[in-house]
Amino acid sequence: MTSTPLIEARGLSKTFWVHRKDAGLWGSVRSLVVRRKDAKEAVRDVSFRVDEGELVGLVGANGAGKTTVLKMLAGIVHPTGGDVRVLGKIPWHRDDALRSRMSLVMGQKQQLWWDLPAADGFLLLKEIYRVPEARYRETLGHLVELLQVEEELGVQLRRLSLGERMKMELIAALLHSPRVVYLDEPTLGLDLGAQRAIREFVLDYRRRFQPAMVVTSHYMEDIERLCERILILRQGQLVYDGPRRDVVERFARSKILTAHVRHPPGDGARVSLSQLGEVRVDGDTIRLEVPRERVTSAAAALMEICDVVDLSIEEEPLGHIIERLQRARRGEAGGDSGDGGGP
């Protein structure tokens, strides 16, 4: 790789100070006088780079530090240590030239104005980012058509559904054609159709503009469809930086079948189920974890053993894969991770 990376993080660390208060009335009274502060290391010594046109997935369990990393890359949060260059600039210096070429979309927090129709919000953003009129019209037209939200443009944001709002947020984030885009849980809480629309949209943007993109998501499908390369964070440390394919193929070994059945299984049925994989029964819901290659036969067997009303097949939770990856890395030497070692 000879090109200069659009994003480069070196030894990035962040420690938060959290005030602690004991539970109950006495705890509250005490906290009026003495306040205990605990250090929480959210991110430790994280280094990576993202090149032009790359779409990198940042994954990890809750509290692993994904959002904190994004916030530091976006210049919202000051790091405690380390260095970041985005388009050659330090993000938390909040240089206007950098900020007008960067974007952050947060699935859990809307950025558009709650009381305004999206169309008014877009106009304001056009002014803030100083997008020329002709380019604004062209970009907006394209984005709106792609996400099919023409009808909703004039509706107050708070009256839109979650999926429609997220689409508007994406449009808002990309109106100024940023070169660096961070997407924090862009599909959180959306139905499958909306998730697919958002993913296709992200890929289309990538094809057209070749930005550097970092996306976090709890949905394996997002990561699988979007990212060729992933970074895995665990307790604030980067434990894997490499091709996504390797992680899924090597570490996601099982799938989870969840079935709702008409009658709770009897003892005999339970024994048969336990031969298929790891089984847990909760009333009329059966959760079966089976090796990936046996998922079809296990599903067929499950439907034969029980009177199934509804069946869903999901990937093993990302947290499990991460856990396994950590164990594997401790056991096996080497691996394809370039950096991210411990302190």
Binding site: V77, S100, L124
Partner: protein, 269 residues
């Protein structure tokens, strides 16, 4: 360069106007209640003391003072009850502004100014009604010159009100609830600014001290200028004190902001 800020200003104005019920209820009811309190309280005081004039105001002058102080206060303070800056900080909405290639303070000041047009509309409507209901008292010398002088004071005071609010609300970087601080600030401003009592009722020494504080420039001073009780020299001196406070508070705000932003965690996102 002013594009985004003007746009924010216009949006804020439209937003305030769009909450029609709140706009008129707040306008009329709050004003009527405050005026009723002032009217009956001072009626009782004048009757009990038997004085013809208190603090340089006869009864009708006193009532007119409250009308003017309340109306001018609306122009000066804008959306004073709202703690949008503190809320942005502890709810995490500040993150959005930090991403924009624009100044946060500039955007918030534009919002503050956006509240000016609706306030002006209220002042015109209520002031018009009051002018009909309460004839101009003796000793009030309102002329085009005093109106012009008072306008300059109000413009300055409007900026001062914003600069005073900014560092106080930025305390939200460190403390969770700035609401009570804001209430205290409002109370102090109203008391030392002359909204609860005309400052001419305070002892001489206190009045001299208060001339050096920023508060009286929100209510008492602009009213006194408008009714012709302030000569040009004192007017200039007042503007000087306001300019000094604007500089001091501007510097304080910038300092607090620079320190606060380093501790900002963007919680809520």
């Amino acid at each position: 360069m002013t594009g985004p800020y003007l746009h924010v200003l216009g949006l804020e104005t439209r937003k305030l106007m769009s909450y029609r019920a709140d706009f008129w209820l707040h306008t009329v009811v709050a004003f009527a209640v405050q005026m009723a309190i002032a009217f009956f309280l001072w009626r009782a005081i004048f009757d009990a003391t038997g004085e013809g004039s208190i603090g340089g105001f006869a009864f009708d002058g006193m009532v007119a003072y409250y009308v003017l102080a309340l109306l001018i206060g609306r122009l000066v303070r804008g959306k004073e009850r709202e703690i949008t800056i503190a809320r942005d900080i502890y709810e995490g909405a500040l993150s959005r502004y930090l991403l924009f290639p624009a100044s946060y303070g500039g955007m918030k000041y534009a919002e503050h100014l956006g509240a000016l047009a609706p306030a002006a509309l209220q002042v015109v409507v209520l002031g018009g009604l009051a002018a009909v209901a309460v004839p101009a008292p003796a000793g009030f010398e309102i002329s085009p010159a005093t109106v012009a002088m008072a306008t300059v004071v109000v413009a300055f005071a409007n900026l001062l009100a914003f600069l005073l609010r900014f560092p106080i609300q930025a305390v939200a970087f460190w403390a969770d609830n700035v609401w009570s601080l804001n209430v205290m600030l409002r109370f102090v401003t109203e008391f030392l600014g002359g909204l609860l009592l005309p400052l001419s009722l305070f002892p001489e020494v206190a009045q001299k001290a208060m001339a050096w504080l920023p508060f009286q420039y929100f209510f008492y001073f602009p009213v006194a200028v408008l009714i012709g009780k302030v000569d040009p020299e004192a007017w200039l001196r007042g503007l000087g004190v306001m300019a000094l406070w604007c500089c001091l508070l501007g510097l304080l705000g910038a300092w607090v902001w620079r320190r606060g932003i380093r501790t900002y965690a963007g919680v809520g996102i």
